[in-house]
């Protein structure tokens, strides 16, 4: 076999083994994304119950809670960036980081100091590579977030928000994550988590479904005190779950196109290899013919 065909065959083998890997990753992501979507759905009864309870308290009592009070003079804002731990998910991490950069730029323009909180190794390495400061990181779970982590993040952010400003507390908390619209569309999105805007538009109550006059045990203030941090954790949990589903969906898509490209490459190299082999054979024949006629001429 000539040198050229051997190179082509080698390339085909290499591409084929890469294809096997990307195909496997595609299948794994496909099966996990279904589970991730299901987890988003399963967390919704909790979020719904909490939203309803929070809006009930907010509607029937004139309680001013520190977590819902807007500050007039915002000096410092925390930004929670939810990215992924692993790459090979297309533009997933870079688009969420780009969105966060845009937000941070806007906040800086408004004269606010930005305190970044990072979720996922990709965001962490982005910050480390650029030698930028960040407040805290959470890594190692982005494709399967648990509620405990959401609660930890929520408690950290709430604690920072409640801290007085001169001790390093923040006046606003924003979350940048990827919203899972459907299997083909995932959009990076920004929500302002704190101060809370009570009565979310997500679950508008039916007109005839009037909230009853609740009794509070022990008191409206204390109920709100207990509910709001949970509400924050539940919303962060929801963001983490949506981000996980988005990560897996974009990984599935990226790996599918990688597999398709590998197939294309194999096809191309097979053609080239065949051509090279054909050229070799043709050359050999012409050499033999040429040699034979030279012998015939000599005799």
């Amino acid at each position: 076999m000539g040198a050229q065909t051997r190179v082509y065959r080698q390339r085909i083998r290499a591409v084929n083994s890469t294809k096997k890997i990307t195909r496997a990753m595609e299948l794994i992501a496909a099966s996990r994304v279904v589970k991730a979507q299901q987890r988003v759905r399963e967390s919704s009864p909790y979020a719904r119950a909490l939203t309803r309870a929070v809006s009930a308290v907010a509607t029937f009592s004139n309680v001013d809670h520190p977590l819902t009070t807007e500050k007039d003079d915002v000096k410092r804002a925390a930004v929670l960036v939810i990215s992924s731990d692993r790459g090979l998910a297309g533009a997933y991490s870079s688009s969420v980081i780009r969105e966060s950069e845009k937000l941070i730029g806007e906040l800086r323009e408004q004269g606010k100091e930005v305190v970044p909180y990072l979720v996922g190794r990709k965001a962490v390495s982005y910050y480390k590579f650029r030698k930028r400061e960040y407040a805290q990181e959470w890594t190692g779970f982005t494709d399967q977030p648990t509620f405990e982590i959401a609660r930890e993040i929520g408690e950290t952010l709430v604690a920072r928000f409640v801290q007085p400003e001169d001790e390093g507390g923040v006046d606003e908390v924003h979350v940048v994550f990827t919203r899972f619209v459907n299997m083909v569309t995932q959009e990076p999105d920004v929500i302002r988590m704190l101060p809370l805007e009570v009565v979310e538009g997500e679950e508008a109550p039916e007109p005839d479904d009037v909230l009853p006059l609740y009794e509070f045990e022990p008191s409206a203030e204390q109920v709100l005190d207990a509910l709001l941090p949970k509400y924050v954790s539940a919303r962060i949990f929801n963001c983490l779950l949506q981000a996980a589903a988005s990560e897996l969906a974009s990984r599935q898509r990226a790996m599918k196109s990688a597999t398709d490209n590998a197939e294309e490459l194999v096809k191309k190299y097979t053609r080239l290899a065949n051509q090279a082999r054909q050229a070799e054979i043709t050359q050999e024949i012409s050499e033999i013919v040429g040699g034979a006629s030279a012998l015939a001429d000599a005799s």
Partner: protein, 88 residues
Amino acid sequence: MSSLQVELVAADRKVWEGEADMVQARTIEGELGILPGHTPLLGVLVEGDVRISTGGSTNVATIDNGFLSVDRDKVIIVAEAVDASQIG
């Protein structure tokens, strides 16, 4: 007598749903029992057992802190973590 519609919800799933005659839970202020026809209530629960009685049998679930809402005979018990191993 009418009965209660009970939902027991954890952060990551709905644990249990069904009808019951009585629900007992522990709030900050002490043990609380709910029968059909209770006024709307929002209460903060502390760590402890929630008892859901149906007919003769009682289901017990252990929760960490959470809250409970009662509204027109619909009881929703919400907790971050629920140990439902004893619920049949």
